[in-house]
């Protein structure tokens, strides 16, 4: 029998990560978490998660970077804010999830072709280039990058949406598209200035 250690040692934690999350939105009050588990009980998605929100919060604040960022739980959070209004310590758990998602994308910590982060990235690209989202185009782009065969199974729904005039075929765009890209660039500049 091959027994493996299931408990982590403190030496395996990443102090930088623990400090980082403590200064991110949602992480500010992470030290106050009582580990009561109300977040996990309230979360409608926790029953599909590999790590419940309560566990994720503990691991994050102690600096178990790999365990936290590679967990699919952060992607299953739909940001329904149920935990936020129930938390007895008023911790912005949903806000923390966004901080974790952003870091996981930056450091490519998610499984390749996992549709949720792929969709987030395609979404942001489309907004950057057009200023608006055209749902039908986004769906095609996401499936093309994750599971193209699934598009085939959507023919019936596609036809129904077309018939009822709910599928927009022409890309929707803002008038001042240049403003959007300029705005996004300016955010990056301002961010860099702040760090420097």
């Amino acid at each position: 029998m091959n027994l493996q250690r299931t408990v982590k040692f403190e030496a395996e934690t990443d102090r930088e990560f623990a400090q980082w999350i403590a200064h991110e939105i949602g992480g500010e009050k992470l030290r106050e978490c009582l580990q009561c588990g109300l977040c996990s009980g309230t979360c409608p998605l926790s029953l599909y998660m590999d790590k419940t929100p309560r566990r994720l919060m503990y691991l994050a604040r102690e600096g178990f970077k790999g365990d936290v960022l590679s967990s699919l739980s952060i992607w299953l959070c739909t940001s329904c804010y149920g935990c936020v209004i129930d938390c007895p310590k008023q911790i912005n758990i949903t806000g923390m999830m966004y901080s974790l998602k952003q870091r996981a994308i930056e450091e490519k910590f998610y499984p390749p072709r996992f549709p949720i982060p792929v969709m987030a990235r395609q979404f942001s690209r489309m907004v950057r280039s057009s200023g608006r989202i055209t749902e039908s185009w986004l769906v095609v782009q996401v499936f093309a990058r994750t599971a193209i065969w699934r598009l085939l199974g959507m023919g019936k729904l596609g036809l129904r949406l077309l018939r009822t005039g709910r599928m927009r075929l022409v890309r929707d765009k803002v008038e001042h598209r240049h403003d959007i890209s300029q705005l996004m660039d300016a955010v990056q500049v301002a961010k860099k200035e702040l760090v420097a």
Binding site: C80, G82, Q102, I180
Partner: protein, 291 residues
């Protein structure tokens, strides 16, 4: 005062019936509004996962556009309503976000001081129009129609100031004023799974199934929604969500379509032709007149 109507992307696509019926009832009830010129996507939940600061700047551009015109925003989509309000809150609460967003908006000649109120149609109808005025204008009451009011998550949480976060009743009251029999829907603020029907179908479909079965089990004949994503999820996947033992077929309308029906507006305004699960037979059986 004229309101700046902020449609958001879905109301121009899969949620067209929401836009059509909402603008029609606003006109019928004398709520003046015009579309916010050159609005952009609010960023929804997706942009926030990629780059939070950019997503606040995106949302703030819309706030700034309305601020320039000195108008209050009406945001019907629950996600847009949340994101615009959240940006407003974060710019107030976090000096760093405020300074970065302000600096970025400056490069395109805009300012956002946080003066723009972001409001939801439910609240406008309740507080500006009023239940009595609404009831007085009802021409074709939704007599005996059993409606499950479904609010979803992002409208009432966490920034909503006009309704309860766990047991909202604004839509219940509006639909009751239209003559409907509103049921006490147990899952009214449960999440529909958002885009997970597309990304992780096994999870998304399970959420949808639970919500539909709860509505059915509690005696609803129609589900009323306030969010284009909730509406899409609950209406478009009923065949998959049900099975041969327990097929599911229940019309899912926007609350604004039901109000348009009650006000006796024309077919263009009720937008029933955009339904995938037909509702006409049910309305006929209840003796509800519809164009």
């Amino acid at each position: 005062m004229k309101y700046a109507y902020y449609p958001g992307c879905s109301l121009k696509g899969t949620g067209r019936a929401y836009e059509e019926s909402l603008l029609a009832i606003f006109q019928a009830l004398n709520v003046p509004c015009e579309e916010l010129h050159d609005w952009n996507c609010c960023g929804a939940t997706s942009y926030m996962s990629v780059d939070q600061l950019s997503s606040y700047a995106l949302a703030a551009r819309n706030l700034a556009l309305a601020e320039r015109e000195n108008m209050e925003i009406i945001a019907p989509c629950a996600a847009c309503y949340l994101v615009l309000n959240k940006t407003q809150h974060y710019m107030h609460d976090y000096a760093q976000i405020n300074s970065i967003v302000t600096q970025a908006l400056g490069t395109i000649g805009l300012t956002c001081e946080g003066k723009t109120q972001v409001r939801h149609p439910l609240e406008i109808l309740l507080n500006e129009v009023g239940l009595q005025t609404l009831a007085a204008k009802v021409k074709s009451p939704l007599q005996g129609l059993k409606v499950a009011p479904y609010y979803g998550c992002q409208l009432v949480r966490p920034y909503c100031t006009f309704d309860d976060q766990r047991n909202p009743t604004s839509m219940d009251r509006l639909l009751s004023a239209c003559g409907a029999k509103v049921i006490n829907y147990s899952s009214k603020v449960q999440c529909c799974g958002a885009s997970q029907k597309g990304t992780v179908p096994e999870v998304g479909l399970d959420r949808i199934r639970r919500l539909l079965l709860a509505a059915k089990g509690e005696g609803a004949e129609v589900i009323a929604t306030v969010c284009p994503l909730c509406q899409f999820n609950l209406e478009c996947f009923q065949e998959e969500a049900g099975n041969s033992h327990e097929p599911i077929s229940i019309p899912v309308l926007y609350f604004s379509q039901l109000i348009a029906l009650a006000l006796g507006l024309d077919a263009k305004s009720t937008a029933l032709q955009r339904c995938i699960v037909p509702v006409q037979t049910l309305l006929g059986s209840k003796g509800i007149v519809h164009a």
